[in-house]
Symmetry: C2
Subunit: 240 residues, 2 copies
């Protein structure tokens, strides 16, 4: 049985595409090759009150169209048992702080990590990608609540900055650029950070990682110049 199956999307939305449609082939291939029929969806990044049904329905629409069933974890009396019995999980976007706090509050960190280490496929998007990494220290989200720690699922040994954004030429705004923010992180932390632009994803098959999608990615390493990687680049070196 193959180990560690991850599909980490920068975002669920990509300009010019309906929700998750740009990732149709990736999701379909990823789940089919792992013989998955049904996906456990984790909607805890949603900040809207009582929105888990709505969010799950939004995700189920494209997944059903791709040929997969979706169940929301909030429908199960015991979320840990739901994870333990899942064929695969998908953690969607929203607020990364709220998501990570919810995963800790519901004691889901260890069960998810353990299942993924033993081969359960994991799909993440945006906040769901952030929590799959070492820590949420490189999220773009507003810190609307305080999780017990910023350390996350650590399914991979580096961080991802989803929705990575290049500086806008001639911008008059004086807030920090995304690259400057990641540079601030590297002033006090040595963890590598992969800037994943919208429309791209990282596909991890055991110890092999591949950049897939429509856009290149930018890798930030402490005390080094950032480096660009084209779609289909082998990124396995980041895993070791």
């Amino acid at each position: 049985m193959s180990k560690r199956q991850l599909l980490l999307l920068s975002s669920s939305n990509y300009h010019g595409h309906e929700y998750l449609q740009f990732a149709k082939d990736w999701i379909t291939d990823f789940l089919n090759k792992n013989n998955v029929k049904k996906v456990l969806f984790i909607p805890f990044a949603s900040t809207k009150p009582n929105s888990f049904d709505e969010y799950t329905a939004k995700v189920a629409a494209p997944f059903n169209q791709f040929g997969f069933d979706v169940e929301g974890i909030h429908k199960f009396p015991d979320p840990v048992e739901a994870v333990n019995n899942a064929q695969a999980i998908f953690i969607g976007g929203g607020n990364t702080f709220l998501l990570l706090k919810s995963l800790y509050d519901k004691r889901l960190i260890d069960p998810i990590r353990s299942r993924v280490e033993n081969g359960m496929p994991y799909i993440g998007s945006s906040a769901g990608t952030n929590v799959s990494t070492v820590s949420i220290n490189t999220t773009n989200d507003m810190p609307i609540c305080l999780p017990p720690t910023f350390y996350a699922l650590q399914l991979i040994g580096f961080n991802i900055n989803p929705h990575y954004l290049d500086p806008i030429e001639g911008d008059k705004h004086r807030g920090e650029t995304r690259a400057e923010r990641i540079n601030e992180f590297h002033h006090i932390n040595s963890t590598n950070v992969l800037g994943l632009r919208e429309g791209s994803a990282l596909l991890v098959d055991d110890d092999k990682a591949t950049l897939i999608g429509f856009t290149s990615a930018r890798l930030f390493r402490q005390n080094q110049e950032p480096e660009e990687f084209s779609p289909n680049s082998d990124m396995s070196f980041l895993l070791s």
Copy 2:
């Protein structure tokens, strides 16, 4: 003696102006009316290693030109004593998480709050404005480190979002807009949030608050439509 003297700048940089020059008259009037000759500068938002001297020199240049002396708090053996003896303090921008963590680590929260409550003038900019409010839950910064809590100096009873940014027409990026992020905060928190655009500031004189500067501000209240306020608006209602 007058109580609570605050000058809270959205940013130190404003398009088309040298560092802090757009705020020259505000800073000068604010310090002169409070008979301040020397300002204690707190550079702890800087993420760059060993950068406190450099940052203090950068701030001292315009302040000296405006007629005020500047000393960096890092030069004092006891930072609490430095705060207790200061005529006024200025907390500059950088990373809000690192700044708040440093203020807690150095046990400066209570001394600063106590001095300000007893009339010591406080100037904040960007991260220095964030920490003057109820909490840093509405900062734009990357969470590069974890402070013990997101609660801050609470010199005022609401939050500020500095560098407030309007959505960019036709933007193809699918990350959340600033307004959407503040809306997420209001899904789980009822604290008012004042979106201060670059080039503006809030001037607080005891129980009177006035919006000053070149740009209007946008006020976000839970379950209400956002409201715009022009420069020179009386914002005292936010203090009560």
